[in-house]
Symmetry: D2
Subunit: 152 residues, 4 copies
C-alpha cells in the first residue's frame, strides 16, 4: 500500500500524471527493501538504473487520506536487466464505494526497464544467480496495453 500526498494533485485537482511515476518509484523502493530484509539487503545486491518507462492512465485519481494499492511484478528477465509491471488500483473489497460492482478499480498500468548497475565500477553488470532466483519468484503476466494507435 502506497500513501498519497495532497501535493500529488495538480491544479486540475487530480493526482498528477508525473506523480504516478513517483508513486511507482516509491512502491518499488519499498518492495525491494522489504524483499531483502531477511538478508539485510534488497532484492538486488546493488543499485538499479531506470532505462525506460511506459505508463497508461485509465482513471483519474483524487487524493484521499488512505493509500492506494500498487501491484508490482517481474514481466521480463534478461542477462543484465529486468522489467517490472505495475497496476495502481483500489481493491474491490474497500468499503467506500471506490470498487463498484466487484472488480478492482485500476487507475494506471505501467512498466519499467531496470538495468543492474555496479555503483562502484559505474557500469551495468550481469544479474547474479541469487538475484535471478529472487526475481523469478516475482514473475507474472506481461502488461496488456491498450491497442496501439487506437486512442480516441
Amino acid at each position: 500500500m502506497t500513501a498519497l500526498r495532497w501535493s500529488d494533485m495538480d491544479a486540475y485537482g487530480h493526482i498528477n500524471n508525473v506523480q504516478f511515476l513517483r508513486l511507482l518509484e516509491d512502491a518499488r523502493v519499498v518492495a525491494f527493501a522489504a524483499a531483502g530484509s531477511d538478508e539485510g539487503g534488497s532484492v538486488v545486491d546493488t543499485g538499479v538504473l531506470v532505462a525506460s518507462q511506459r505508463i497508461e492512465y485509465l482513471k483519474p485519481l483524487v487524493f484521499r487520506p488512505y493509500p492506494v494499492a500498487i501491484d508490482l511484478w517481474v514481466t521480463r528477465m534478461a542477462v543484465a536487466s529486468f522489467d517490472l509491471g505495475y497496476e495502481v488500483l483500489d481493491d474491490a473489497a474497500r468499503d467506500d464505494g471506490a470498487g463498484q460492482g466487484g472488480g478492482p478499480v485500476i487507475y494506471a498500468r505501467a512498466e519499467t526497464t531496470l538495468v543492474l548497475y555496479d555503483l562502484t565500477q559505474h557500469r551495468p553488470r550481469r544479474m547474479r544467480p541469487a538475484e535471478r532466483v529472487r526475481l523469478e519468484s516475482w514473475q507474472g503476466e506481461p502488461i496488456t496495453w491498450r491497442p496501439q494507435g487506437r486512442g480516441p
Copy 2:
C-alpha cells in the same frame, strides 16, 4: 530551453528519472502557451489530459545552472487526441564541451498521448479544425525507440 532545478537530482546525484517527465510537462506547457500567444490562447483551445507516456533514458544528466533543450513535435494526430514526441538534449554547438564530436548529446526520448478534453463538460472532445491546422504545423518524424527487448 528548460531550466533544471538542483532539486531535480536524486540521491544518486543525477536528474531523477521521474523528473525528466516533469521537465517534459514544463516544456509542453510553455510551448503550448507560446504557440497561442498571438491569439491570446494556447495551441489547443481547452485542456488536454495525458493518456499515456513512454520514455527512454539515454545518458545521465547532472544539474547545471543553464537549461537543457527540449525539442517537441507532433508524431500522430487522431480525431480527439494527438501524440507529442520529445528529445531532451544539449546542442552540439555549446561551448562547454557537453557536445563532443559534433552531434547533439541526447539524454532522453519520449512520447506522450494527449486527449483533448472539455473541462466544462468533463469529457473528451473532437479536435477542432483550427487546432488541427496549428498542430499540423508541428508535425515531425515518429520516435525511433531502442529495439524492443534488446536491453542489456
Copy 3:
C-alpha cells in the same frame, strides 16, 4: 506516522530541507481529515491558507522504508487564524537504534500560521465556535526555538 519517499532525499543523500515542509503539509492534511471524520468533515469547516512558516532543522534524516512520527498541536488561536507547532521525530522505543539513550530523536521543529479562508467568497473568515472547540482540544506548548542569532 508519515511515510517518507526515497525521492525526498536530495543529492546530499538527506531528506531535503524543503521536503520537510512537504512532510508537515502531509501530516497536517491527514490530521485534519482524521479529526473531522466522525462528522464527515475536517477539523476546520473550509479551507485554510498558509500565511507563514518557520522551521529549524536539528538532525539530518535519511530515507528508510518506515515512517517518521510528526507530532502536531495548536500553539496559538486568534479570531481568524491559528498556529500549528510540529516536531518531526523518531520515538525512543524504536528497536533500530535511532533513539539512543532514552529520549526521542527530534529531526526538526516547525510552526505554521494558518488563516481560515472562505473558498467561495475568496476571503479570510472568522473562526466558528465549533472549530474553536475542536482546535482547543489540540492546544499545547509554544515552540522553543534555538536562541536567536546564536547559530554557529
Copy 4:
C-alpha cells in the same frame, strides 16, 4: 529571474506554499554558482547546510510562462554561518499589469540560516576570509516581518 513550473501549483490553483521554498533554493543555487563563476567556484568554497527557514506569504502567485524575480541578499554574518533574506516579486515595470500603481508586487519574504559545512570532514567549519569578503558584498537590510502575533 526564476522560472515557475506549472506543477508548482497545487489543487487550489496557486503556487504551493512549500514550492515557494523550492523556488528560493533554486534562486540560491543559481546565485551561488554565478557569484563564483569568475573563479570557477561558488560564493562559498564548500557546501552549506540549511539550519532554519522562515517565510511569510503576502500574495497568491499563479503559474505563468515567464519567471518571477527573487531578490536575495545577506542579512547576517557570523563565525560559521550566515543568513540570506529573499523577496519573491514582480517588478513594477513589467508590461503585463502585474505591477499596478508603481511599486513591485511582493509575493513572499523569507530568510534562511545557512551553516558552512565541510563535506569531507562532515562538520561545520569557520567562514574563510575570502568567503567573508564575497558575502559582505551581498549585505543588505534585515527582513521586516509582519508584527508578531498580529495575524488576522
